[in-house]
Amino acid sequence: MTKFAVKDHEMVPEHVLLTPEEGAQVLKSFGIEAPHLPKIHVSDPAAKEIGAKVGDIIKIIRKSTTAKQSIFYRLVID
């Protein structure tokens, strides 16, 4: 059996767990509250792998065909 991490798969973009301070900074820059962000489940394989907890904000660095790279944020929910 081969060792396999979800983040190695070519379809999974890079997930970065933000610290509460970084998270607050993101929310402030958009002028929104945390529940307004798109969601990701705490049981999501990619979220599990970086050890995210409910209430955390995950920064997702997507490879984009139009902009080359785009940044996306998701709030970890139950």
Binding site: F4, V6, M11, P38, K39, A46, T66
Partner: protein, 385 residues
Amino acid sequence: MSLSQKEILEMIEGLDLPLSIKEALRSGLDGVEVTEEQFNEIIDNVLADYEHSRVEPCEAVGVVAAQSIGEPGTQMTMRTFHYAGVAEINVTLGLPRLIEIVDARKIPSTPTMTIRLMASDDPEKDYAHDRDKAREVAWAIESTSILHLGSIATDLAEMNVLIELNPGAMEQRKISAEEVAERLREETGLDVEQKENLLVMAPEEPSYRELLQLVETIKRISLKGVEGIKRVVIRKEGDEYVLYTEGSSLKKVMQFEGVDPTRIKTNNINEIGEVLGIEAARNAIINEATDTLREQGLSVDVRHIMLVADIMTVDGEVKQIGRHGVSGEKASVLARAAFEVTVNHILDAAIRGDVDDLKGVTENVIVGQPIQLGTGDVTLVANKR
């Protein structure tokens, strides 16, 4: 005085532009002599152009996306089955496939996987470029039934089932007669008599019906491989061998020796969501939808499809566009009622005493008010002075 290359790169880095435009700027200005004034003019023009290309605030991007996907959709064939370039493996394509994607069906009508194999410089481990090794993996994955290994017959006089195993076929699929007998014992709970390559089984009750039923049961038993993978086909793509399967089981197949787990694909979007997460599911929706449209010779801007994929995955799970998903979860009663099952929505809302704030587009069209989009979203307040 012209700017140095380093200054140019630094100034480009500091701009608020997408990476792709920055890269285009960098390669365009590579080795070009420009003065600060010229450089600023270039940047101003790029920024103005970029600003112009962006979506205006209050623009109805959803409606534009719906039209942009819907119009080419009218030109798609209604019912296509296509042999995705591989003999025997048949995949739903065209309009039915597109509908399947936006409906977020739990299991697609023709599940299939594309399995890429491990490549290595060590010939012992190089599965991707060795046909025999690729074939080994294919046989390990493919669900093997008794019909792959030999023939099955009934002896009516003795009231038993005779299974004659083919040594060549067993050798190929790396399974022994003992293992087959063991698997049959496990699955049926009946005794299996083994004489070399001949297996004899008898039903519990010596009745004609039981005997025929036992034959059917034995035929359905998966002796080896991954359950649900009905067929595996090998095809050479470029210089590597790729396996195509009929049936999908991402989690199990990923663990096989020789399979490259980082490049394995399935057309079952829900399965991707479960195994690889919501972001991978979003990518899968985009890829599958673009491929389906392109295969039909239609080109839809990927941004529209990205919007659809984003909306479908915004809540952390794959939601369909429709009554049980995006459209059914709208906050406005009138907007939901305008879509499907009008009476139910209005009746439920009346019983609960729901209030509609008339903030969306549909509900304002229904009551005959200006919609809150584009210029309709801007209100002027006079400053009395």
